[in-house]
Symmetry: C2
Subunit: 432 residues, 2 copies
């Protein structure tokens, strides 16, 4: 088998066999296929596409390139959630405890990575004492006992994806539905959860700009997961503006805690309810109805059981559960609207960059996150604003350079139009 | 300007500006654009194509990546011929002296390279004493005096093409008409001849398998040359079987000398006549007719003037013009047909590989060519053969291993069918 022939075959729009896909992925990870052949191959996939079974074989080949985590020591229905990413997305912080309260098992392994704000782990580590450096046996014990734990991911999962993604990132081959699906699903399948619920974001602030593309990505990922023997559902949710009101590390933890107590923003609450209901449907093999599942979710929140799980998890991982001790800046600068009208959209990318400029995220691997900073968005798409109305509170570190520029950036992220704009529904579709 | 954006633009089928093309080619040659970005870019060009002006800008950017040779010290109409390659193609050896006899100036710079048989230089160096290591001033002096000289090319012409071609070769991006046109034309334009006549081969033994593709390549190359201010014509010639009868180094020199004396194979003689006539038409700005040009070509051959130029060139470059002294093996093995019928095609690739296995070509840069070996094809497409008829004479070095395999290979290259096959015309079209 020759790499050249595999590239040529895909270039000509032909279908690759499982062994051809396996060959090129293995050889690339081992280093015997150089980057320049892989990048030509990825561009050919980008432009010629892949059939569903080719994408499944690609996912499998990538998945098998590294370690896998069996979770076999956890009793019960293990489930993982994946979001295709967005600004202000603290859903995992809320969903984990809710699912634990419902009796499911959430053994969340998360990375730090770069970004506008920290990852789930960074957010949690803004809680005094909280540690995600949990040894494997203790991690399993917490999940078995409480139902949820969140740890840093240290295993060498899917090295093929790391290497391929780095290459795609610099060769304009990221936005390909088969490549995105294989990248996400190889990482999800490497951890042997019984169920996976996918939150596919759609809209101006998401990877997938159109509902049609998002639906296709969701369909493909669900099909890959099924072929691999997992239970999978995908929820398509709108990302035309940040989710919730808070952006920043401690601020997002606070908002998550509020939501777990039924006092969070309605969009976040709704998304958690849908994702949790879908998870419950997966775990019960759909022997209950959607309405029943939804009711159970509402119950664990209104009863305080879900918030209790959060507190238990925080304690088990060494954190101080007193939310009032969260490190949140006292220096709050209001941002006011410069014109009157209706909020038509809030540019997620710009909001995220503004948060990063305040110090809430990492621009480089070595950068230190400032847990105390961030922002609360006071207006949402569809809201009426008058000139001079406050549209955001900005939590700053007064000693940080670049606050002014960050605030200017945030101001520009709000698009205000004269005519009323009907906000999109939050949950656009469910693919299962 | 970012490489990423340039790749993305081409990936999306958009038209690149001159400055974008210039940027990526320059940066690639300098090493600041890595191979993996260039290979993704080349695959995007392969699959999305290029408009004529983009291809012209690509050619120019490549051309300007290295040295150029002005030829300003040569008086008269300087002309170069380029063939897209084929087996048994000794046209340059014949055409150069013919053009010199017509009063044109042929300052041929040629490479050695790898291949089934040696390049033009290797073929000529099979003449005892002949050297292509001619200092620049002597080379110019010979061209000015005799009208033709052939030297090894040592200048660093078009490094962009060397680097890009090596990459295309391993990433399945060779067979792209814009990329082929830019590669050929950048090398041709780097040497400032006034005229260029292109011999675009078509058929099973050529790069271009279909007449339509060959015509498109020819049209594009002629247009690039014109935009660069040169006079250019392209001749489309059939390559469903090797050109002429001889394959091998000394054997091809012998056939070239025969053809210069009007006793060569008809296909080679015809192609030389067409290429020479077209060259004359370019040099005279078409102030004479095609028939007049053709007549002048016939005259320089029948008068012996063209052969005389060949002898003068050989002498000027230190060679012994006595053709009977050419090193040709006396060990000749006949190849006979195993069946009766009509020759339907002769696989050029297989004939070439057979010649290489006999020792006539270089498999690696370091390999030494055996000038004495090769073959004479005794049957051509359309010829009737009986079982047992001789179809080729094979000139071998009896001490060379692998002769048997080479002969087997040649036997398989002859395709013989029961029904008569009408051979293709040699000259299929002229694009000017």
């Amino acid at each position: 088998m020759r790499t050249y022939d595999i590239i040529k075959k895909k270039r000509d729009g032909e279908k690759l066999s499982q062994s051809e896909i396996q060959f090129i992925v293995d050889a690339y990870v081992k280093g015997s296929v150089p980057d320049y052949q892989m990048s030509a191959f990825l561009m050919a996939i980008f432009l010629k596409g892949m059939a569903d079974d080719e994408t499944f074989h690609l996912t499998t080949a990538m998945l098998e390139s590294g370690e896998q985590i069996s979770l076999s020591e956890i009793s019960g229905f293990t489930i993982d959630k994946h979001s295709t990413g967005g600004v202000g997305d603290k859903t995992s912080l809320v969903l984990g405890p809710v699912l634990a309260a419902l009796g499911l098992k959430v053994a969340k392994l998360s990375g730090r990575g770069l970004g506008h704000t920290g990852g789930t782990i960074d957010k949690l580590e803004s809680i005094s004492g909280f540690s995600c450096d949990v040894p494997a046996d203790k991690f399993i014990a917490i999940v078995n006992k409480i139902g949820v734990a969140i740890a840093g991911q240290t295993a060498n999962l899917v090295p093929a994806d790391k290497k391929m993604y780095a290459l795609r990132d610099v060769t304009a081959t990221v936005d390909s539905i088969p490549l995105i699906a294989a990248s996400i699903m190889s990482k999800k399948l490497a951890i042997h959860n019984k169920g996976v619920v996918l939150d596919v974001k759609v809209g101006s602030g998401a990877f997938m700009k159109s509902l049609q593309d998002a639906r296709e990505l969701a369909r493909l990922m669900v099909s890959i997961g099924r072929q691999a023997g997992r239970k999978v559902t995908a929820v398509l949710s709108n990302m035309d503006e940040p989710l919730g009101e808070m952006i920043g590390n401690s601020l997002e933890v606070l908002e998550a805690a509020d939501t777990l107590q039924g006092k969070g923003p309605s969009d976040l609450a709704e998304l958690v309810k849908v994702l949790a209901s879908e998870s419950l449907l997966l775990s019960t093999n759909r022997t209950i109805t959607q309405a029943e599942a939804s009711k159970k979710v509402e119950e664990v929140i209104s009863s305080g059981k879900a918030f209790q799980k959060f507190i238990e998890m925080v304690k088990a991982q060494g954190g101080d559960p007193a939310m009032e001790k969260l490190p949140i800046s006292k220096e709050i600068k209001p941002l006011v609207s410069e014109k009157s009208g209706y909020v038509s959209s809030i540019d997620c990318e710009e909001v995220g960059l503004s948060a990063m400029m305040l110090g809430a995220g990492r621009e480089t691997k070595e950068a230190k996150i400032d847990f105390t900073v961030g922002m609360k968005l006071c207006k949402h798409v569809g809201d009426k604003v008058e000139k001079g109305d406050k549209i955001a509170d900005i939590y700053v570190n007064p000693n940080h350079p670049g606050n002014e520029k960050a605030i200017e950036r945030l101001a520009k992220a709000f698009h205000i139009k004269a005519e009323f704009v009907q906000p999109q529904k939050l949950v656009l579709d469910i693919v299962s």
